[in-house]
Amino acid sequence: MTLVLDRPLVLRPPRYAGFLVAAGFLVLMLAVVLVPGLFAGDPLAADPMHVLEAPSTAHWFGTDQLGRDVFDRVVHGARHSLAIATAATLLAVVAGVLLGMLAGLAHKYADEALARSFDALSAFPLILLALLFIAIAGPGALSLVVAIGIATLPHYARVVRAQTFVVRQAGYVTQAVAFGRSRLRLVLRHVLPNVLGPVPVIAVIGLGEAILAAAGLSFLGMGTQPPSPEWGAMLSEGRNYLSVAPWVSVLPGVVATLTVIALTVVGRHLQRRVEGRLG
């Protein structure tokens, strides 16, 4: 009996290494959002003696134009940035699932009208649609939530609509109809749980997209107003000092990017798992 090595014997990192690191980072982020005080000091404490200092052991991310510690601000800003993105994603998921299911169950023409509305909604670039909403409702965190929520709703609505088409043909639905279950019960007990399948995974990746959009809009000055720390707003403020102190704007951006990368890695891992492409 011969032992066949189909692969050279090299030490490889474990298969889930990327996923584990990303998931670990997200857990850390969650902790940072829940108890920022544990990780960093006062994000508003100005120190005029130490303005625009480079990163050091005392100030890991350096200090900004008012001598505030950038690391402290990034840590406290996580709460604002991630709260906006999470709320927007939740809004998009809830509205998207309801509308998608409605379209999937509705009469042919109503379905067509809804489906075209989803198309029309996704015809607008996210940023521009959000700007239209902000032009109407005024800037602010709440505007960002609603704007991003509406703009990303078609993702979920489309998937759920397609799922609903599959589910309404299923035997258990036919059987429930035959048993004379009420419509409400039919939808809530039989359709809803079964169309939700792919939604959580899309939502994880969608959350990353929402973080990017929220940061972009705050960067344009449409979100949280200073001095409260928010990643996009910090980038925008730090921009004026880019030539002398790039860390003030770049490092908050790097943390935002790492968060989005972690979400994408976890999201794709889950997606592969759901699709059964993982050994």
């Binding site: 029309a120 015809a123 670039p125 700007l131 109407i136 880019l242 770049v250 990017t257 890695v265």
Partner: protein, 302 residues
């Protein structure tokens, strides 16, 4: 028949988009008269003049039909703030933005094609995939700020802001192109991977074609289909991206006009930009659908 259907669907989507934007305008708090007056003199006489001039006394339905009719003819109304036709306001700023978007699109597509074809070996593939992931996840303005910090402030190679000469176009175009290249490379690579499993690749190899030719002539063509259908997405990303990129690099253009209009509640301009972006998306998407029909005969049969 399929062609007509696609174009029809595109028109319907465009109509819904224009209507939705119009409804959004109606839903805006505060009266239109207030928005037009802005910080100017506010007397009952001026108010009634404005109502007459802008035909605000007509029923909403009439105004809506009038808006659609004019929009269909390319008349997008007048800016509240600048008191000039929106078409002129946008037209003056269209070229700088279009220039940036086109250069970025070409750059992004070229980079994606090169990366997808050349990074086939395991290690280069892993490096490239990681780079794509990072690019796709990075806020575009961060890429811009980093490039600006390194190439303009530290190395002094490119101007910091403005739109003078080709040198000023380099950094903004690269900033806009990198995330696009990231997404397109992923799509192309997936497509090539799938195509390489197809029987026609075995045939091509059996005919003695070199691996590079198999990739470029057979697998890549196959992989183009999903990439082409992203054309609408590409246009939207470019249009949305310029708003941010123009701010980062202090360039004139549609993005700057849009931002100014949003902050000063100049609704006709905001509305026009949004409807224009939807128009661009629908045109590109329809074009992409038709291009797919041309590329892949199998789609024509269904």
């Amino acid at each position: 028949m399929i062609v007509l259907r696609r174009i029809g669907t595109g028109l319907v989507v465009l109509w819904v988009a224009a209507t939705a934007a119009y409804l959004a305008l109606l839903a805006a708090p505060g009266s239109t008269v207030d928005s037009i007056i802005g910080d100017g003199a506010d007397t009952p006489l001026i108010r009634s003049q404005i109502v007459q001039e802008w035909h605000l006394d007509r029923p909403a339905v009439v105004q809506y039909v009038d808006y659609l009719w004019r929009a269909a003819h390319g008349d997008l109304g007048r800016s509240y703030l600048l008191q000039r036709p929106v078409r002129d306001v946008l037209g003056a700023q269209l070229w700088p933005t279009l220039k940036l978007a086109l250069v970025a699109a070409v750059l992004g597509i070229a980079l994606a094609l090169v990366l997808a074809v050349t990074t086939r070996r395991p290690w280069s593939r892993r490096v490239s995939s990681t780079a794509e992931l990072v690019l796709v996840s990075t806020p575009p303005f961060l890429i811009g700020l980093v490039l600006l910090s390194v190439f303009s402030f530290q190395l002094g190679l490119f101007p910091v802001s403005g739109d003078r000469g080709a040198a000023a176009l380099v950094l903004p175009a690269v900033t806009l192109a990198l995330p696009i290249a990231g997404v397109l490379t992923q799509v192309l690579r997936d497509g090539i991977d799938r195509a390489l499993d197809e029987p026609f690749v075995i045939t091509a190899r059996a005919r003695g074609l070199r691996e590079r030719a198999v990739l470029a002539r057979h697998a890549l063509r196959h992989a183009l289909l999903p990439a082409v259908s992203l054309l609408g997405w590409l246009g939207g990303t470019l249009l949305g991206g310029v708003v941010i990129i123009e701010t980062v690099f202090g360039r004139p253009g549609l993005g700057q006009v849009t931002l100014q209009a949003v902050t000063s509640e100049d609704m006709p301009v905001v509305l026009a930009v949004v409807v224009f972006s939807a128009f661009a998306y629908v045109v590109l998407n329809t074009a992409a659908d038709l291009a797919c029909l041309v590329i892949d005969p199998r789609l024509r049969r269904s």
